[in-house]
């Protein structure tokens, strides 16, 4: 059992914008989480077209409660991560870089128009692999700006997630509280890893 106030305080920095809209969006994500059994999942690739903070908030609360521990989290963007990767130790933001590898939860934001590098995909796959091995959860949120071709642009990454983890397209989610799947992620076939 966790303390409500400590848990709420931990994820409070993620609350942005009008409170009612934030609550509505976070509740939608909560439904997605409970309509799909994600308890054994260590990494998720999300496609979304809305603000990402409510998504991170709902996942942060969910995984903290699941693990009965107020989890540490870090937030970064794909661009920032690749920029940091090419810096030397002297110029790198060591604190954030270390948190990217070691925080219990990592949220990575990708944007369709910034997403231009195959190398970034390889780096992200390597990062997710390393973190999964260390039992740490990684959530990548891909921000769809153009509704066409977004799956094609991220083929390598989505193929990796479909084979090893799970992909959720938030733009195609059913209404809240409709149970869609109870299958454990580890036993899912590739086709079932796309929700």
């Amino acid at each position: 059992m966790l303390n409500k106030f400590i848990l709420a305080g931990k994820f409070k920095p993620l609350i942005t914008g009008p409170r009612d809209k934030f609550v509505k969006k976070a509740d939608q994500i909560r439904s997605v989480i409970f309509n799909n059994n994600l308890s054994d999942v260590k990494a998720i690739l999300l496609y979304g077209s809305d603000t990402r903070e409510p998504v991170y908030y709902a996942f942060g609360i969910y995984y903290s409660l699941l693990k009965d521990r107020v989890l540490d989290y870090a937030i970064t963007t794909g661009q920032h991560f690749i920029n940091q990767h090419f810096l030397t130790e002297a110029t790198r933001d060591l604190d954030l870089y270390s948190k990217i590898y070691s925080s219990d939860l990592l949220f990575i934001s990708l944007s369709q128009f910034d997403y231009t590098s195959d190398y970034l995909e390889s780096l992200l796959i390597d990062l997710v692999d390393t973190r999964s091995t260390n039992n740490k959860i990684t959530i990548i949120h891909y921000d769809i700006l153009d509704t066409k071709n977004y799956m094609h642009t991220t083929k390598k990454l989505s193929d990796y997630f479909l084979s090893n983890h799970i992909v959720i397209d938030l733009t195609k989610q059913s209404k809240p509280n409709q149970q869609t799947s109870n299958t454990k992620a580890q036993t899912k076939k590739a086709s079932e890893r796309f929700i």
């Binding site: 106030f5 400590i6 709420a8 305080g9 409170r19 521990r69 270390s98 070691s102």
Partner: protein
């Protein structure tokens, strides 16, 4: 018969066993006060041993004939050499004790009582007085129900605040030292006081030696801790700063007083809090005296003897004389204190009874910096103690405390050493409320949340978002 070092040396050479000769010579050098000639003979023997062959008995007798008092030509057999060395040690210790007593007698008039105590204490280090001649009983003996006897010991162990800690470390058994380690501001005293409180409430007699704080301040914290552990309404909790700033309303003052009396009634003399003005602890003898007084007080007020001591904290013994030796460093002195408390835990005041010792100690800066890195957050290792390396060896369990700076009211508790248990994969996460002098979840309804509450929407996301 009184043996001499010369006789032992020549008898050793007579064995013609180079390895044996080397080992025994080292023993002689370490344990016996040698005179110049004896040292010279040993140097000679060692030099020859280095060349591959010990000198003959005849060579040594001829070269050092002036030192040979063994006119009868006695040769000690190989089996009796150890006894001969022991007999020389005893004889030398007796001579030294006589000399020290005469010296002390001659200067006693000029010494202060404090200096006198230190001198007497150092006399007790003499080997004659420390050697035990009684043959101890064999502990491996027939028992009607050995399993239950073993279980009895663990059942009788003391609590370490939470079952989550005990799931890894086990209970704090009699005859052990439990170290509570943390960097400054990591709630060491809160943890130690709560441990004392919970065990006293459970009927154990606990002596809390407060060297870092005053008894008055600790008693206030104890009342706040009692309020926090018994209240189920947040409005009842009393913040330490309100007491400090005299901001309690008349109702709160009354509530505080009622809780103080309730605490006193429930604890019923099972917790003694003494601070440095109450006790004398300069030497081991002083500490013995203090512990004896506490034990007598418990016997008088509760009818049973002392079960545990909480020492808060070890580093503050650095200005004492401890065993009265000449210590080369503060670490040596504190190591001696840890050994002293280890002996007390195993054989309390030479009564043959075992007790539990909770030792509060500091963590070194390097370990703190290492444990502050995101990768190792709160994960101290066994070498983290700054005061005395003896802590690592003597402790049955080492409990480290790390205040999580990224999450409010959170303490990370690691157990880098658990002789009777296991080390957790990750530091355990605990709630901590410094303002209420309390570690652990408050017993307030509606504040706890589980995964089940979240999945069944018993606690909505909206209420969480608004709680933040």
């Amino acid at each position: 018969m009184e043996y001499t070092v010369f006789t032992v040396l020549t008898s050793l050479l007579a064995t013609e066993d180079n390895k044996f000769i080397s080992a025994k010579i080292e023993e002689l050098e370490n344990q016996i006060n040698l005179n110049e000639v004896e040292r010279q003979i040993i140097t000679d023997i060692k030099y020859n041993l280095q060349l591959g062959q010990a000198p003959s008995v005849a060579y040594i007798k001829q070269k050092y004939s002036y030192a040979d008092t063994n006119v009868l030509g006695v040769v000690i057999t190989r089996d009796a050499i150890d006894s001969a060395i022991r007999s020389i040690i005893i004889s030398q210790s007796q001579a030294q004790l006589k000399k020290d007593l005469v010296t002390l007698g001659s200067v006693a008039n000029n010494l202060t009582p404090e200096e006198l105590k230190i001198k007497i204490n150092s006399l007790l280090e003499n080997k004659i007085l420390t050697s035990h001649t009684a043959i101890p009983k064999n502990n491996l003996k027939a028992m009607p129900d050995p399993y239950n006897q073993l279980q009895q010991r663990s059942v009788e162990g003391l609590s370490i605040i939470s079952r989550r800690i005990e799931a890894h470390a086990g209970k704090a058994a009699a005859g052990t030292i439990i170290s509570i380690l943390g960097f400054a501001g990591s709630f060491k005293s809160t943890f130690a006081l709560q441990t004392a409180y919970e065990n006293a409430m459970a009927g154990k007699n606990v002596l809390y030696i407060a060297l870092e704080s005053t008894a008055e301040a600790l008693i206030n914290k104890l009342v706040l801790c009692h309020i926090a552990s018994t209240s189920n309404n947040r409005k009842d909790l009393i913040n330490n700063s309100w007491v400090r700033d005299r901001k309690l309303t008349p109702e709160q003052q009354e509530f505080y007083n009622n809780k103080y009396h309730e605490l006193l009634n429930k604890i019923s003399n099972r917790l003694i809090i003494w601070d440095e003005k109450d006790i004398v602890y300069n030497t081991f003898l002083d500490m013995n005296d203090t512990l004896k007084k506490a034990n007598d007080l418990f016997k008088e007020t509760t009818g049973s003897e002392l079960d545990a001591i909480v020492l808060d904290q070890l580093a503050l013994l650095k200005f004492t004389a401890a065993g009265g030796k000449r210590y080369n460093s503060v670490t040596d002195l504190l190591n001696d204190w840890v050994s002293y408390f280890r002996k007390q835990s195993l054989n309390f005041l030479d009564s043959g009874r075992q007790i539990t010792i909770f030792l509060v100690s500091q963590i070194n800066r390097e370990s703190y910096l290492e444990a502050s890195k995101p990768k190792k957050k709160g994960r101290y290792d066994i070498t983290c103690a700054s005061d005395a390396n003896e802590i690592e060896r003597a402790s049955e369990t080492m409990i480290t405390l790390y205040k999580d700076l990224d999450t409010a009211n959170t303490l990370l508790i690691n157990i880098p050493k658990a002789r009777s248990g296991d080390v957790p994969d990750n530091p355990l996460q605990f709630e901590v409320y410094g303002e209420y002098s309390y570690i652990g979840s408050l017993n307030i309804s509606g504040e706890g949340i589980t995964a089940d509450d979240f999945s069944k929407d018993i606690i909505s996301l909206e209420s969480l978002i608004n709680a933040g």
